[in-house]
Amino acid sequence: MRTERRVLDVGDLPDFVFGHRDLMWWGTLGFMVIEGTTLILAMVSYLYLSKNFDSWPPYGTPEPSLGVPIAQLVTMAVSVPVLMWLQSRAQHFDLRRVRWGLLVATLFNTAFVVLRWYELAALNVKWDTNAYGSAQWLMVLAHATLLLVELLEVAGMAALFWMGPVEKKHFSDVADLAFYWYFMVGIWVPIFVLAYLLPRWL
């Protein structure tokens, strides 16, 4: 065994930090990149399949409706500043406001999921009608898995903050949750364009 020579002392370093200094943030980033890649590939596949059709949607398939998807977009847009507020409160260790903010976030996420259910119907095509329908359902359902997983997370976090032993590092986790939220909402925008606008434009 080599002799050790002490050259540095790290004992006074903080044991909780926010953002990219925190180890957990990198895990969140990793999963965002993975899921983002998957969704981009789904979008590319959708566009690839469109070359097999003369019209898009194919003849005989109705265009998607816009009502519910627009409601979803609005709900998502409204949620963003709320989550930004929640993130800032978490960075100030404001336990009381974070608790309420997490409840509100859970409500928003539930709304997303419910609206997503109706958004699937708004596609006006079934997954087994033709390749257009299959590709539409793939993009929208794949994004729905993000919504569902995030619902588990935000509900769990809310439960923790109301009922459980809260530690300082959990505030960092709330900030990470907000970080993921922006991605989840942001990546929906191009999918919305491809799924609900493109068939109406072409």
Binding site: L8, P14, R21, I34, S45
Partner: protein, 661 residues
């Protein structure tokens, strides 16, 4: 060396928050870690429970390696049986159905269950030790990744031994693998096997990236990390961008075509058979570099140690690794030259496929330079490293040949291709892998493998590989296509097939010699000591095998070859011994930044993996499995994430806060 620094807590506004400060290190005099307390903090539970709940990257790494090697042996037996069937024309040992399962499971297991996972497993073991930390970034996630991998392998081989193994080739082209032409559940098994292995691979990649970026020893700037760590870092990025393609294509598209009648690949409803090929090979080509690049990392470490000098031109080597990883994403269409695609488009992929030879060639030239200017010792690991170059270059050269469209149109889907990829895989992946086994076995177990048996192993493997696969180049040029369960006598292919089969027996003998070596040396090999090879990298500063916590105090480095730069080991003290703390450093310069507590043993990763198992195996039969799975995963997630063992003084209590905040 940097003087001890004091770091400020995260700034907060006065009066509106619960005052927080860094938890002071227990018993805070600036002294080295209390080893006895560290041992206690890191002591795992004993018995089966300990085995099921471990979060130690070394335990997980070792069992991961052993499991992956088991799949290698089973898939290798498939290969021996395939060679037996092909030993002479019109042989009746296996009919077409059995043979199709044999070669599909051989390829699928080798690619998805052996080659990539064993490289990941090595990285999960070695990376924390090489970068000077105590564990990977997410210890429970690591355990989860292993269990998911294990379930995937059990799924594939159980199905195969029950005669419902997949039978449409390891890349399962549609429409052959679609609902109409592949009835039953065989291809669904394949699709979910891909899901399990893909989850495990992505988990390992996230671990490596986070660990390498944020948990390096102070002073280990990015341009000081070992070349092996660079190689697995590059590969981890590649996995993240490549794996989702095959996961989506197999689980979300092909499985859905088969289960719920989507039409992704059904031309009658606008689906597209080539969409499968594009998605698969977007993954499939980087996949082979994902297998190969860690091998390059192994070879760099081995050649450096046994030439007693650092690898020549480190920056060029790093650039070569990164270039290979990036360019690997631009080659995929060369698997599709015979498909209906535009001729113009194909030329681009010829150019990229030829170009990728340049960074790999660069590495080979640098290794030769290193050996020439060094003081080489021809131990078994070094023999495997040199053997890698001798065998791999043949595969690399045949690879450049098939980058040419006119030539590839002749040999595509023939035994020439089988020869090519076995040369690059056996040469580029398995030779370095065996070298790595001999090199790091002393670190894993504290004992040396036998050099004598090692040399016998090396030479029989070298001869066996060449005897089996060189004739296949000729068979391909003689017109023998791939994936045929038999051939007619008048083709004249019998002689070379016989030679290849005999070669396969020689390979089998060499693998048996290796297993004998491992079994004998595990308990009775020569005791290794910390650093039997006089190597340069940090893992050799830990004991052999290392303690659960890897290092009592975190090393501090000032060069690329820390153990050659100073006789003693500079360390950083100050991490707590009463809980599992690691040091988090900055990404580029590895300056100490904060301390992070790692979790202790937990059963929840296994529970979550079982939930995934139920979900995806259920999804072979019904899409409702995803609904059930979501609920199960939710439960497992709750168990995993809910904090346990929180001391009361660390809990926060709500206070009324100032409205102005």
């Amino acid at each position: 060396m940097n003087p001890a620094r004091r770091f400020e807590v995260v700034p907060v506004q006065a009066g509106t928050h619960i005052p927080v400060k860094a938890e002071p290190a227990a018993s805070r005099e600036a002294g080295p870690a209390d080893v006895a307390e560290l041992e206690c903090t890191y002591r795992p539970p004993t018995g089966v429970w300990g085995w099921l709940t471990t979060v130690d990257h070394k335990s997980i790494g070792k069992r991961y390696i052993a499991t992956a090697f088991l799949w290698f042996l089973l898939a290798g037996i498939n290969a021996l049986l395939m060679r037996l069937q092909l030993v002479r024309p019109e042989n009746g040992l296996f009919g077409p159905d059995a043979y199709n399962q044999l070669f599909t499971v051989h390829g699928t297991a080798m690619m998805f269950l052996f080659a990539v996972p064993i490289m990941e497993a090595f990285s999960l073991y070695l990376v924390p030790l090489m970068v000077g930390t105590r564990n990977v970034a997410y210890p429970r996630l690591n355990a989860f990744g292993y269990w998911v991998f294990l379930i995937g392998g059990l799924l594939l081989f159980t199905s195969f031994y029950l005669n419902t193994g997949p039978d449409t080739g390891w890349f399962a082209y549609v429409p052959l693998s679609g609902p109409q032409y592949a009835p039953g559940k065989r291809v669904d098994v394949w699709a979910q096997l891909v899901t399990f292995t893909e989850i495990a691979a992505l988990v390992a990649s996230v671990e490596v990236i986070a660990t390498v970026f944020k948990q390096r020893a102070p002073g280990m700037k990015l341009n000081r990390i070992p070349l092996y760590v660079w190689s697995v870092l590059v590969v981890s990025f590649m996995v993240i961008f490549a794996m989702p393609a095959v996961a989506m294509a197999s689980t979300m598209m092909l499985a859905m075509d088969r289960l719920v009648a989507t039409h992704f690949f059904n031309p009658a409803e606008g689906g597209d058979a080539l969409l499968w090929q594009h998605l698969f090979w977007w993954f499939g080509h980087p996949e082979v570099y994902i297998m190969f690049i860690p091998g390059l990392g192994f070879v760099s470490e081995i050649i450096a140690t046994f030439s007693e000098r650092p690898i020549f031109a480190y920056p060029l080597m790093v650039l070569a690794l990164i270039t290979t990883g990036v360019v690997a994403f631009g080659l995929w269409v060369h698997h599709m030259f015979a498909a209906p695609l535009s001729l113009m488009g194909r030329s681009f992929f010829t150019a990229t496929s030829v170009f990728i030879a340049i960074p790999t060639g660069t590495q080979i030239f640098c290794w030769i330079a290193t050996i020439w200017s060094g003081r080489p010792r021809f131990t078994t690991p070094m023999l495997f490293a040199i053997g890698f170059i001798v065998v791999f270059v043949i595969g690399g050269l045949s690879g450049v040949m098939i980058a040419s469209v006119p030539f590839d149109l002749q040999v595509h889907d023939t035994f020439f291709i089988v020869a090519h990829f076995h040369y690059v895989i056996l040469g580029g992946v398995v030779f370095p892998l065996f070298g790595a086994f001999y090199y790091w076995f002393p670190k894993f177990t504290g004992r040396m493998l036998s050099e004598k048996l090692g040399k016998w192993h090396f030479w029989t493997f070298f001869i066996g590989v060449n005897a089996t696969f060189f004739p296949m180049h000729i068979l391909g040029l003689d017109g023998m296509p791939r994936r045929v369960y038999t051939y007619l006598p008048e083709t004249g292919w019998g002689g070379l097939n016989l030679l290849a089969t005999v070669g396969s027996w020689i390979i089998a003998v060499s693998v048996i010699l290796f297993l004998l070596n491992v079994l004998r040396s595990w308990r009775r090999g020569a005791v290794a000591g910390d650093d039997p090879w006089r190597a340069a990298t940090l893992e050799w500063a830990a004991s052999s095998p290392p303690p659960t916590y890897d290092f009592a105090d975190i090393p501090v480095v000032g060069s690329r070859t820390p153990l050659w730069s100073s006789a003693d080991l500079p360390v950083a003290t100050g991490l707590r011994s009463d809980r599992r703390e690691v040091l988090v450093t900055t990404v580029l310069d590895a300056a100490p930044d904060n301390r992070h507590e790692h979790p202790a043993e937990s059963i929840w990763p296994l529970v979550m993996a079982l939930a995934m198992g139920v979900t995806f195996i259920g999804a072979i039969f019904t899409p409702w499995a995803y609904v059930v799975g979501f609920v199960l995963a939710g439960i497992a997630f709750a168990g995993w994430a809910w904090p346990r063992g929180v001391k009361p003084e660390e809990q926060l209590r709500p206070t009324w806060v100032d409205r102005a905040s």
